[in-house]
Symmetry: C2
C-alpha cells in the first residue's frame, strides 16, 4: 500500500498496521490511530463525515476508552480500519485534498499524551513460555524436573490486578514489602531489592461471553481484538516470601505497564506462525487445527539515569508454547465470563538462548551473571532511575507492523 | 429505636441496620434500603425531597450500581443512612403521613428482584482464618507443620475474578475442567466431582487510594464502606491439579455469590470485637491499636432439590486471625491502588470446632466423614440440584443487625 502521506520506511505504523489508541487533546480524551510519526484523530475524521458508510455512533471516538468501539464487533471495527487505509491510500483524495480536516486531524506523535486505551475489567497473566518456566524451575526447584507436572497439560494462568495497569510513560515507585532472607528467622520490611521486568505481550478481549458459556479454540481469535506490549513488573524478593500457596500478589500488583497502541489481529494475520510442537498431546478442548501463533520480534532495553542504554533481551512471541487461542479456550472452559476490554498477558516470553531471556532473573541467572552497562555500571536487577523500554514488531516480505514501545522509569520507594 | 413502621422483632433489617442495595423495578435499577420485610426505594424518597438537606446528585439513586453514591464519601452516605433512620423513627411524620410517597417507595422484599450492588473493579480473596489454613495444611501437607512459614506474618491473599461475582439467587453450573487422579498418568476432562462452598464475608472499598500510596491500619476502616456475605465456590479437584505454582484459577472463577445488601461499617460498629492474639508480633505496618474485628454469626445450609435442609456450619467472623484493616493495609503497602467498589473477601471462615468449619472439604474431612441429610441422602461435597444458603447476623443487648442471605442453586454441568 502506497500512501499520499509521509510514512518512514522503517515505521512500526505502516498503512498495513492502523492500530487504535486513546490520546488527550485540550484536556479531553479522543480515539486515534497512528500512521508513521503522526497521531490521527478519529473523532475529527468521523465528524467530517469520512466514516459515513459505517454504522458508528456519533460520539464513539470522543470517549475516554475504546471499550464501546471494540464492543461494536469486528465487522464494524475492521470496516473502520479498512476505511482509514482507504483514506490514506495514494489514490484517494477525500482527506488528502481536505486541508481543514487534515490540519485538525493529524498531529505529531512526538509529545502527544497517550492514555490507557481500554478500561480493563479483569486481568489475567499466563505463564506460557516453556523456556521461562524451565528456567525458573531450574533455578528454584530441580533442574532435572524443571517443569511442574501440570505445565504441559494446562496453559497455567492466574488473576492479576487490573487497577494498576498503566500506560507507557507512567513512572512507578519501587514497591515496599515483606521479605525474608533464607537464613533469617523473621521477615523484615522495606523497599524491594530485587525489582525485575517481565517481557510479555497481552491480548485484549473484543467479544464478551456470558457466564456459563465457553469459547472454543476455533472461535477464540474472533474474541480477541488485538495486542499490546506488556511489562509485568515483579519484585522477586517479595514474591518469594508471599507466593506459597496462593500465588504472586504484592510482588506484582504495584504496577504493570503497556504500550499505548492496540495492534489488531487483522494487522497481525500475515505474521501467523506455527507453535512449538505440543507433546504430550493436549486434551481435545485445547487442540489447534491451524497455526495460532505469531512471529513478533521483541526487545527489552535498560536505560540508565545518565542515558546509557543497552539491549538486554531479543526474544520472539513465536516461542510461546501455549497460543492465545488456547489460553482463551482454557480460561472459559469452566464457564468463566470474559468482557470486552479484559486483558490477558502471556507470561514472560523467553527464547532458547540467554540473550533471548525475558527477565533479569533469567538474564543474570538470579544475579550470578551481572550485565555490564555502557556507562561502566552493572545490573543484576533494576535500579532506581533506570528506565525499562520494551519494543515489538513484525517484519516479512518488506512489510512492517509494530507496536511502538512501552517505557517506564523506576522511581525510588516512597 | 422505635419505628412507626412494622419491623419483625427478629429481623436482620432493624432500624439499627439500614443497608444499601440495588433492585429492579419496571425494568430499571434503583438504589434501596431494606427495613424489616420491605424494600425502600431511595430514588422515590429523594425525588420527594426527603433528603433535601443532603448534597446528593438528583440521579444518584437511579443508577445501576452504588459506586457513585459510595464515592460521595462517608460524611454523605452516613448522613443519608441517619436520615433514613430519622424518617422511620416513631416520632417522625414526614414519610409516615405522606401516603402517596409511602405507596410509591415501600414494597415487599419477597419477590423483589435484587441486582449486584456495585460494579466490582478488582476482587481479592484473602486466606485469613487460622483454623481454615490449619485444617487445609493438616489435610494436604504436614499436621505438625500445618501453617506455611509466611502465614503468621502476612495476611495471605490473591487476586480473583471480578466478572463472575453474582448476586444471591443466580444459579451456577457445575464447572468442567482438567483433573488428575493421584494414580493416573494423564489428566482427564469433565465436570468437577468435588464442588464445594467456602463460607466467607467480603468488604467493599468505599474510598479510593492512588497508585503509589498506602492506607494504614488506622485509616483502613475509613476506606471500607460495608460488608456482604460471600460464597467462594471452589472445585477442589480442578484446584488441586492447577494451583501450583501460581494459585487457584479455574477452580474459583466460574462464579462467586454475594448477599444483596451492603451492611455499613457504621451499623456494625456496636459489634466490634477483639482479634485472636497475634504471635509472633506482626511487623509495625500491620499493628492494630484497637479492636478491628467484628462479632458476626455465620451459618451455612444445604437444601436438597426435594427441599430437605440442613445447617452444616455455624461459624463466626470474630475467629478471623487477620482483620479487614490489616488486609487493606497489607494490600496497599506496596502502593497498589484500590477503587470504590473493589471487593475483598475474607477467605473461608472456620471456627475451632468441626461444626464451625466453613467448607465441605473441612466438614467432611476430604469426604471421609459424609454428612447425613434429612432426606436420607449423604453429602461429601455439593451435588447438582443442591442449594447452598449462607446467613450472617450480629446480635447484642437485644439489638440485631443482619445480612439476610446468599442463596445459590447448583445446576448440572453445561
Amino acid at each position: 500500500m502506497i500512501s499520499w502521506f509521509e510514512i518512514p520506511e522503517d515505521s512500526d505504523f505502516s498503512l498495513a498496521n492502523i492500530p487504535f489508541g486513546i490520546f488527550r487533546t485540550e484536556g479531553r480524551p479522543r480515539a486515534a490511530t497512528r500512521i508513521g510519526d503522526s497521531v490521527i484523530d478519529l473523532d475529527v475524521l468521523h465528524k467530517a463525515g469520512l466514516f459515513s458508510g459505517i454504522n458508528l455512533p456519533e460520539e464513539i471516538f470522543s470517549q475516554s476508552v475504546l471499550n464501546d468501539f471494540i464492543a461494536l464487533g469486528k465487522p464494524t471495527t475492521n470496516r473502520t480500519r479498512e476505511r482509514i487505509q482507504e483514506l490514506f491510500d495514494a489514490s484517494n483524495g477525500e482527506l488528502r485534498d481536505n486541508w481543514a480536516t487534515r490540519v485538525d486531524a493529524i498531529r505529531k506523535a512526538d509529545g502527544t499524551d497517550m492514555l490507557m486505551p481500554v478500561r480493563v475489567g479483569d486481568y489475567t497473566d499466563f505463564y506460557s513460555s516453556r523456556e521461562h518456566a524451565t528456567n525458573v524451575g531450574t533455578m528454584f526447584r530441580d533442574p532435572n524436573n524443571a517443569l511442574l507436572p501440570n505445565w504441559l497439560h494446562i496453559p497455567v494462568g492466574y488473576h492479576g490486578r487490573a487497577s494498576s495497569i498503566v500506560i507507557s510513560g507512567t513512572p512507578l515507585h519501587r514497591p515496599k514489602g515483606q521479605t525474608k532472607a533464607d537464613d533469617a528467622e523473621l521477615p523484615t520490611f522495606g523497599p524491594s531489592r530485587l525489582l525485575d521486568f517481565e517481557l510479555e505481550m497481552a491480548f485484549i478481549v473484543g467479544k464478551s461471553n456470558d457466564l456459563g458459556t465457553s469459547v472454543s479454540v476455533e472461535e477464540a481469535e474472533d474474541h480477541i481484538f488485538g495486542m499490546v506490549v506488556f511489562n509485568d513488573w515483579s519484585a522477586r524478593d517479595i514474591q518469594k516470601w508471599e507466593y506459597v500457596p496462593l500465588g504472586p500478589f504484592l510482588a506484582k500488583n504495584f504496577g504493570s505497564s503497556i504500550s499505548p497502541w492496540i495492534v489488531t489481529m487483522e494487522a497481525l494475520e500475515q505474521f501467523r506462525s506455527p507453535s512449538p510442537k505440543q507433546e504430550p498431546a493436549v486434551l481435545p478442548y485445547l487442540e489447534m487445527k491451524k497455526d495460532h501463533n505469531f512471529d513478533i520480534n521483541l526487545e527489552a532495553i535498560i536505560e540508565t539515569e545518565s542515558g546509557a542504554a543497552k539491549t538486554v533481551s531479543n526474544s520472539n512471541f513465536k516461542h510461546m508454547y501455549w497460543s492465545m487461542a488456547q489460553q482463551l479456550a482454557h480460561h472459559t472452559i469452566n464457564g468463566c465470563n470474559m468482557n470486552v476490554g479484559d486483558m490477558c498477558a502471556s507470561g514472560t516470553i523467553s527464547g532458547p538462548t540467554p540473550d533471548s531471556y525475558g527477565s533479569m532473573l533469567e538474564i543474570t541467572w538470579r544475579g550470578s551473571k551481572p550485565i555490564s552497562m555502557p556507562d561502566g555500571t552493572e545490573r543484576k536487577f533494576i535500579q532506581d532511575g533506570d528506565t525499562v523500554i520494551m519494543k515489538a514488531f513484525c517484519e516479512k516480505d518488506g512489510k512492517r507492523v509494530g507496536f511502538g514501545e512501552v517505557r517506564t522509569k523506576v522511581l525510588p520507594a516512597v
